[in-house]
């Protein structure tokens, strides 16, 4: 087949497009980052999950160990049930504590895991029983004002 300059330009154009997609995927996006290939699911119940979102991070000692897989409201206990997909590489003791935390004052909400001392490890479908809910700033301020108001008369006397 005869070759024309148009062919060259068309090829270069399409190649440039693929190169740009590759850059966006690997350098800008998260496709280059290693994805947790295999996960196991554990559940945890919280009184309040604050601003936790689906696919939000699960961290232990600051390291990303999994993602939030599902959030739903339990109508029998009136609590939030959060399913966590944890990376198979990281095993946690049965008495691990899960808490809802926020990174910084304006940062994202995440689930923090603090390992316990149990010999048995968490497995697929287990439930984390020790949980700590999100700190609601309004409630905290309310409590602070309330306790201040109680102190006031004692200080006056």
């Amino acid at each position: 087949m005869e070759r024309t300059t148009i062919d060259l330009w068309f090829g270069a154009f399409v190649a440039a497009g693929f190169a740009a997609l590759l850059v966006l995927a690997l350098k800008v996006g998260n496709l280059g980052a290693q994805r947790p290939a295999e996960t196991y699911r554990v559940e945890a119940r919280f009184d309040n999950i604050g601003g936790l979102k689906l696919r939000g991070p699960v961290r232990s000692a600051g390291v990303l160990v999994g993602r939030v897989a599902d959030i739903h409201f339990d109508t029998e206990r009136y609590q939030a049930t959060v399913a966590l997909a944890l990376d198979k590489r990281y095993q946690f003791p049965k008495d691990t504590t899960a808490s809802i935390l926020t990174s910084g004052l304006l940062g994202e909400t995440y689930v923090g895991l603090d390992a316990g001392g149990d010999d048995k490890k968490l497995a697929q479908g287990d439930r984390i029983t020790i949980t700590q809910s999100a700190v609601v700033l309004e409630k905290l301020i309310g409590q602070f004002l309330f306790s201040k108001a109680q102190e006031e008369p004692a200080a006056g006397q």
Binding site: F10, F13, L24, V28, G29, A33
Partner: protein, 265 residues
């Protein structure tokens, strides 16, 4: 007195009817283009030639604008983020705004004014000089030989240009953020990679630019094909291509963004 009120009302009504009529004709035209696309693929060289004219020749403006838009985003973002002490997030800001919105939309606006107007003018002039009629006389379908290759060239070029725009924009943001302002290189890319999701952000941007490509190509070819065969008619059709494309791009962008953000939650 009645005459004075009636005439503008009648003109308004006529314009509305004309607009709706045009939408219907454009839909039929779109169908006709799709039906007569067979030749474009069996003789792909026709499409490649048009990709050269509308895509490759738009590369310079797309790359240069992408670079500048990214640099401006970097500067503006830095100013605002500095107030919150979050200048490390500058990479996230630049990448997300480009990949999700500015890349597809600004590239589409540039493409409509750079290539869409040229397509309209070319087809309009071909019609005015009766080249299309001559083709018909020789039993060569102008739909298959002239319109469809230009349509598919636009559809192919648009995503490529949008991605190049985004990539160049991110590079521009990098130049300002890391090279000039001095944000840490690792933090810049690391935060960006943590925040930009390939499927939800990058691929949705590609889908957007693909839809814009279809819209611009249909509008540009239709306006040329529909232009009155006079100098004035061609000039008006060219203007109408740019204006209609811009409005349609922005309207479609709103609809697509609403759908994509909802699908994400």
């Amino acid at each position: 007195m009645l005459e004075r009120v009636a005439r503008p009302v009648a003109r308004l009504g006529a314009n509305v009817i004309d607009g709706i009529w045009r939408i219907g004709v454009m839909a039929r035209f779109f169908g006709l283009v799709l039906i007569s696309s067979g030749t474009s693929f069996s003789r792909f060289r026709l499409v490649m030639r048009e990709v050269y004219f509308s895509g490759v020749l738009s590369l310079v403006i797309i790359i240069v604008s992408g670079l500048f838009v990214g640099m401006v985003l970097g500067l503006q973002g830095y100013e605002t983020l500095q107030t919150y002490g979050a200048t490390e997030s500058i990479g996230v800001l630049v990448a997300l705004s480009l990949v999700r919105e500015l890349g597809p939309v600004v590239a589409a606006l540039l493409f409509a004014s750079r290539a869409g107007s040229a397509i309209t003018a070319e087809i309009g002039l071909m019609k005015a000089t009766e080249q299309l009629t001559a083709m018909d006389m020789m039993a060569v379908s102008p739909m298959a030989r002239v319109i469809a290759p230009r349509f598919w060239a636009g559809v192919i070029s648009m995503p490529v240009l949008a991605m190049l725009f985004s990539a160049m924009g991110v590079f521009g943001g990098y130049l300002i953020g890391v090279v000039i302002i001095g944000v840490d290189n690792g933090v810049f890319w690391g935060q960006m990679q943590a925040a930009v999701d390939f499927r939800y952000d990058v691929l949705n941007g590609v889908v957007k630019s693909f839809v814009f490509g279809i819209a611009i190509s249909v509008i540009a070819t239709f306006q040329g094909y529909d232009a009155p065969p006079t100098a004035e008619g061609v000039s008006r059709a060219t203007t109408r291509t740019v204006v209609t494309s811009a409005l349609v791009i922005l309207a479609l962008d709103l609809v697509l963004t609403a759908f994509m953000l909802r699908a994400q939650d």
